[in-house]
Chain length 296, copies 2
């Protein structure tokens, strides 16, 4: 990984973790356990890719970090809730996530359901607070778009399609739509959020959103390739589960070579969207490469 | 029940159901199943108490029904998601709700988790849309308060405390706090929402919120009394589960007579908060009586 990107990823991760630490404090009260479960998963590591994207796109427009870090914390809360619920026995039934027990293994199923449930409104509260941006219209725009990206039109809808993949055979267009909803929507929101906070033009905003959507899809294909080839140790979670479940993926539909090529094309597409921003978008170009070159 | 109240309950229920029907349409797409599951529980009946409270408090300030019905739909979405998740095998493990199979029995557990997950952002989208109110500040206020009422500080926190009730012995103050969070927060929000939409004074707003909190607690005590005395047929769900699980309730702590008396006091308190509004608050007084006199 490029050294400047590594530094920027680390800096945005540290900033968002400090913000999450402030926003999710455990009260000295009977409900402490649900906050502990929320924090357990919020601080279970991870690449913090979405927070980085919010902050890096915000930097294009000189958005104050105090502002972009809040939007970054909000998207990480939504992402974290989705992982907690995805890991549940009735969903993917995973015992490990990033090398640690999943939330319901560390606590229990009911607590994991509640921790996920509580992270959603906490994300909205975080975004809607005046500290995110003084303008009510900007906060409303961010929250409305997040509600769409996280809901049945976006991430949850993609999850629903994915659940049916074990019994339904999807074609490439359908898998693409599934992944655009399941993974792409939140990543595209992260890229658009920086533009919204930065009062970007419609053209800049659309370019960053499109960059995010391409990036999200490339990210997912890379995930599929790692799932097919990687070891559980490197990935910190069970691998090969898709093939075992008989699910169609980019790999089963295009072969590993075809999928790899498609990911490369998507990254080239994504990077081309950044021409508008010239040299300033350097880190966003680098992260697009990293997304498909990563080992875990 | 007073005839005017019965008519008003029916009218607000019909209005909110029509609004829910518009807001949750099943797309002709692969994710249709999650929308079907959301609609299944949204239209599974119920008293529609929270929507009534939003609309009736809104009426005190001549809030247009096109506006209050949206806030009413939003709170019903949150309430519905909470019921879907509460009924899950890892939570209350209920097979019946309002005499019909619970969501996970009608669909499956994974779909029920997702349907609940998707109702939350749909509620926020509904509130945040300009159709709810032209003023961005009003919409933000509603959504921020809802996020708090529905989150770990409110409903979900209450659920967490309730889950621990099987193994922890709570005293009356703790049970009261539990119920204020679990049930009271959303009911109080419903009453405050009409005041927010109606640009009420701080004094009017606080009075309606306090009315809602007292009403919510009275409602819960009445539920406990029905659970202890009622039949499964009348309630449309399993009864006597709290006692079986060895949980403290208002009944175990105060006895049925004491609990009944406490509910009466709370209703008297709630009704006294309405003095500010004179004769216009007639329906809100009636519904407070109904809440503790109901049979199911």
């Amino acid at each position: 990984m490029n050294a400047a990107l590594a530094e920027a990823l680390q800096a945005s991760a540290a900033a968002v973790e400090a913000e999450l630490d402030r926003l999710a404090t455990v009260p000295d009260a009977l409900e402490a356990r649900v906050w502990e479960a929320m924090r357990y998963s919020l601080f279970a590591g991870g690449k913090r890719l979405r927070p980085f994207l919010v902050m890096a796109t915000g930097d294009l427009f000189f958005v104050p970090h105090d502002s972009s870090v809040r939007a970054a914390a909000a998207i990480e809360m939504i992402h974290t809730y989705s992982l907690i619920h995805d890991d549940l026995p009735c969903m993917d039934d995973d015992d490990l996530r990033r090398g640690k027990p999943t939330n319901h293994r560390q606590f229990d199923e009911a607590t994991a359901v509640l921790a996920g449930d509580a992270l959603q409104p906490l994300a909205f509260r975080t975004l809607l607070d005046p500290a995110t941006d003084p303008s009510a219209d900007i906060r409303l725009d961010l929250a409305q778009r997040l509600a769409r990206a996280a809901g049945a039109e976006g991430m949850v809808g993609g999850q629903m399609i994915d659940l049916q993949a074990e019994t339904t055979s999807y074609d490439l267009d359908q898998i693409t739509r599934l992944q655009n909803m399941k993974t792409g929507a939140l990543i595209a929101w992260s890229c658009e959020a920086g533009a919204i906070l930065g009062r970007a033009t419609a053209r800049e905003r659309e370019a960053l959103k499109a960059y995010g959507l391409d990036l999200g899809l490339a990210f997912q294909i890379a995930d599929d390739l790692l799932d097919a080839a990687g070891s559980a140790e490197e990935m910190g979670k069970a691998v090969g589960k898709d093939a075992e479940a008989g699910k169609e993926t980019f790999i089963t539909l295009m072969g590993p070579e075809g999928a790899r090529k498609r990911a490369e094309e998507l990254v080239a597409h994504a990077v081309a969207r950044l021409d508008l921003f010239g040299e300033r978008a350097f880190l966003l170009r680098e992260v697009a490469r990293y997304v498909i070159d990563r080992r875990s």
